[in-house]
């Protein structure tokens, strides 16, 4: 049986891969993908704790379902913002978008 720590370690590694992507990449769509990777890592940690940690409890899995909902909403609104931005100025690079920069 695979220990709980292994699942949590994989989850942490995937989460920080997502963090690195968000910090380094410039394409807004790739940044959105990396946010999805971070949400997925969170899901894995939640399910691992829910199934293996201490008393088995399904509430962690319920939180995962809510994260599914929030991820879907986030992708829809995020892509809409990126498309609206692209219509106003033809770029999806976040460092070229500085209209609100002080």
């Amino acid at each position: 049986m695979i220990p709980l720590g292994a699942f949590v370690a994989v989850s942490a590694a995937l989460f920080f891969i997502g963090v690195a992507g968000v910090l380094v990449r410039r394409n807004a769509i790739v940044i959105l993908m990396c946010v999805e990777l971070m949400l997925n890592a969170t899901n894995l940690a939640l399910v691992a704790f829910s199934r293996r940690g201490g008393i088995p409890d399904e509430r962690g899995s319920v939180f995962v379902i809510f994260i599914f909902v929030i991820a879907a909403a986030e992708v829809a609104v995020g892509l809409a913002i990126i498309l609206a931005l692209y219509r106003n100025r033809p770029t999806v690079d976040v460092d070229e978008v500085h209209a609100m920069k002080g």
């Binding site: 699942f7 995937l14 940690g53 379902i65 990126i82």
Partner: protein, 170 residues
């Protein structure tokens, strides 16, 4: 004949696929390839859920992430033509700061996870289906948040439509 070896082998394959594809999403310059690798990461995560005994969550993962969200992202890629540009400026200023922020915290978190949670394992976890307890929990204990989540999805849908709607009169 025990299934421990097979379980470990499957876990190792899933870890390699997941971490490799995740690194590919960050490093790959071709954005379509990055999107497909992201879908592969989601698929490996579904495999992890099956290993943990959460088959229902794995099914939702395949339906929502591998199906819906990947298609949405690919549509986003399709609507925004990509120019040939380096994925990051070679000497962009935030890269060392980002490495400084990410690498130590990541190493600390991974080591802490392995060390601290190896002792709190529960080998008597239920191995059966998780559908009935999940449904009981969602529709009894979390009925109100469930309704709020559906309102959130409706609001997000309306917001997305309003954001990308063209003004006909202008």
């Amino acid at each position: 004949m025990s299934f421990g070896f097979i379980e470990s082998a499957v876990f190792a394959l899933l870890v390699i696929g997941m971490i490799g594809a995740g690194v590919g999403v960050v490093l790959l310059n071709r954005i379509t390839g990055a999107a497909l690798l992201m879908a592969f990461t989601f698929l490996c995560n579904a495999g992890m859920f099956v290993l943990l005994g959460a088959e229902t969550i794995a099914a939702f993962q395949v339906l929502i992430y591998v199906g819906a969200i990947t298609v949405l992202i690919l549509y986003g890629v399709m609507f925004t033509p990509q120019r040939d540009r380096p994925y990051a400026l070679f000497f962009q200023r935030q890269t060392p700061l980002a490495a400084l922020a990410v690498v130590p915290i990541a190493l600390f978190a991974i080591v802490a996870a392995v060390v601290s949670f190896s002792f709190r394992d529960n080998p008597d976890a239920p191995r059966g289906s998780d559908l009935v307890p999940l449904a009981t929990s969602v529709f009894r204990d979390f009925a109100f948040p469930f309704e709020v989540a559906s309102v959130l999805l409706l609001a997000a849908m309306v917001g997305a439509i309003v954001l990308v709607k063209r003004e006909e009169d202008s």
